[in-house]
Amino acid sequence: MKAAVIALPRSPARLWPYVGGAVGLVVLAAIPEFLGLYQTQLLTYGLIMAIAALGFNLLLGYTGLLSFGHSAYFGLGAYTVAFLLQWLGIHSMELYILLGLPVAAIVSALFGFICVRHTRIFFGILTLALSQVLYSLALKFFWVTGGTDGLRVPRPTLLLGIIDFAGSGGFPRFIRSYYYYVLGVFVLSAAIMWVIVHSPFGKALQAIRDNETRARFLGLRVRRFRWAAFLLSGTFTALAGILWVPLNGLTTPDVLYWPFSGEIVFMTLLGGFRNFFGPIVGGIVFTFLKTYAVASTEYWQLLLGTVLVVLILLLPTGVVGALSQLAKRLRTTREGAR
């Protein structure tokens, strides 16, 4: 069973996600050559958001739980990095990830243990309430967290200190290197997530999502599975926060505030939560959409809100879902004509 999970499926129809993934990867690896520095930076943000949305979607798309408090884990990752710098003087990105992930996993496990006692709307409110506990702590304990000013995180060294960005011209070098660094982490996390959702564990989560009672009759310990999914989901989103903070250079309580959770939900929905690749596309598209909305109009929230409402009215399966439906329809009409 374990080998079957990783081995390529024999049926050619099942092969296209791998082909699509490989093509996407080649495009992502080559594209900085054609983009300016600013666009590359934006794409880095997009990949980071894609990791956050992938983590979030393990709960929404695969387990059927809508969290409205995922800002907590993103912000937790960001603030952990800031504290590691402030208290221990750590400058290495690898150490940030290695030390940050266990912290995130512990807090996710704790919050998840509480939240998975409920489902549906109560789950959403509980996740929101817990995330706001962290938000208000970050806001009020200003002598630790810097309050609304936040904490600064300068550019760290990459690959155990081999690459550092001190001196002049550090910024463009950082953006170029960091893009590939984030891309590497992204590919690794996406691959791990792919294995998770296609493993027996992932199938069990989907069974629970589709019919909790039947899953229970099959002997699945529903709450424990949800808890594990919550833990993984929170940790993935925290990884995104860890990667985000050196790029942003600063972490403020805004990333813990609940409207940011709404943005994570938004990007996942934009891409489509019924498809593995949906959150990835959503994270990248949302980042560009938001940046251009902010740049072009003072009233970007108005624009984004309208997009969101129209989107869920007209494209409930998101961009990726709509495209795959379109592809399916084209295929059937072509076969019908034949």
């Binding site: 509480i114 409110i125 706001q132 806001l139 409207p259 709404g262 809100g305 309208t306 969101l308």
Partner: protein
């Protein structure tokens, strides 16, 4: 001793406003099964309309004693906004999954927040003239604004009125019937669509009223709705979503804890509130008075 009295009055003032917001949120959830994330923004719109009307009225030379009329007008205006929103935005989503209902109200929140900025700008809008015209009350050696006592009175009156409407009138029976079983109510010939509009409009009216009564003592600022919403969430979670009694008790608990918090443990004042909500949700998922 008089400090204690002032703190109690402050808590009651705060509870009145919170009750108005939370009761509307709870009513909408009870009848329509929608958690309205934009509810705080409706509250903020009430505050903005109130402050704006006060400014206009003063500009037109309306005598200050008439300024209090602004409060019901602002609340009615927000109710009108609700009457427009419900059929336009919410109705297409009743048959869809909960996630989409939550998201459409989140989209609405983004839209409303920016519309407020578009119409009234980014600077705070004040209406403190209303507060200044009211006499002050002497409590021991301390002076207390009479307006705050009026707000407490409005809060109490609103609570009583709401009770009478929901538990004492035919309309209340219709509301409760729809809330218990929408399809059965429809099968019995009830115009459910109309009940939904009415429930949403009443919820909006109360949010708008909350905003309009708070604006003379605070100012209308951007982001006040987003902040108020989470507190209203705490109230309904503690009291029970969909329960009127819960909204009242929850508002009182939250207000007194918050007043005490600001006095004794200002750093964790908000965190304590959210933790109370979390503890209640764990121990009694339906809240103290909820049945849902």
């Amino acid at each position: 001793m008089s400090i204690l009295a002032v703190q109690v009055l402050n808590s009651l003032f705060y509870a009145s406003v919170l009750f108005l917001i939370a009761a509307g949120l709870s009513l909408i959830f009870g009848v329509m099964r929608i958690v309205n994330l934009a509810h705080g923004s409706l509250f903020a719109i009430g505050a903005y309309i109130g402050a704006w009307l006060v400014g206009r009225a003063i500009g037109l030379g309306v005598p200050v004693t008439w300024l209090l009329l602004v409060i019901p007008i602002a609340a009615l205006a927000v109710a009108l906004v609700g009457i427009v929103i419900e059929p336009l935005l919410l109705r297409p989503f009743y048959r869809r999954a909960e996630e989409y209902q939550l998201l459409v109200t989140f989209g609405l929140l983004l839209i409303l927040e920016d519309l407020m900025r578009l119409v009234w700008g980014a600077l705070p809008l004040t209406a403190d003239t209303v507060m200044d015209t009211m006499p002050v009350v002497h409590i021991g050696a301390l002076v207390y604004p009479g307006y705050n006592i009026l707000v407490i009175g409005i809060g109490i009156a609103a609570a009583i009125l709401l009770w009478v409407v929901i538990y004492g009138t035919k309309f209340g029976v219709l509301l409760r019937a729809t809330s218990q079983d929408r399809r059965m109510a429809a099968a019995l010939g009830l115009n459910v669509g109309l009940v939904y509009v009415a429930a949403f409009a009443i919820g909006c009216f109360m949010a708008g009223l909350g905003g309009a009564i708070v604006v003379p003592s605070h100012a209308a600022v951007l982001g006040m709705g987003v902040e108020a919403l989470v507190l209203a969430f705490v109230v309904v979670v503690v009291g029970g979503l969909g329960s009127l009694k819960g909204a009242l008790v929850g508002a009182l608990i939250v207000s007194f804890v918050r007043t005490a918090g600001i006095q004794f443990f200002p750093e964790v004042e908000l965190a304590v509130l959210y933790l109370i909500a979390a503890v209640v949700l764990i121990a009694r998922p339906t809240g103290l008075f909820g049945t849902a």
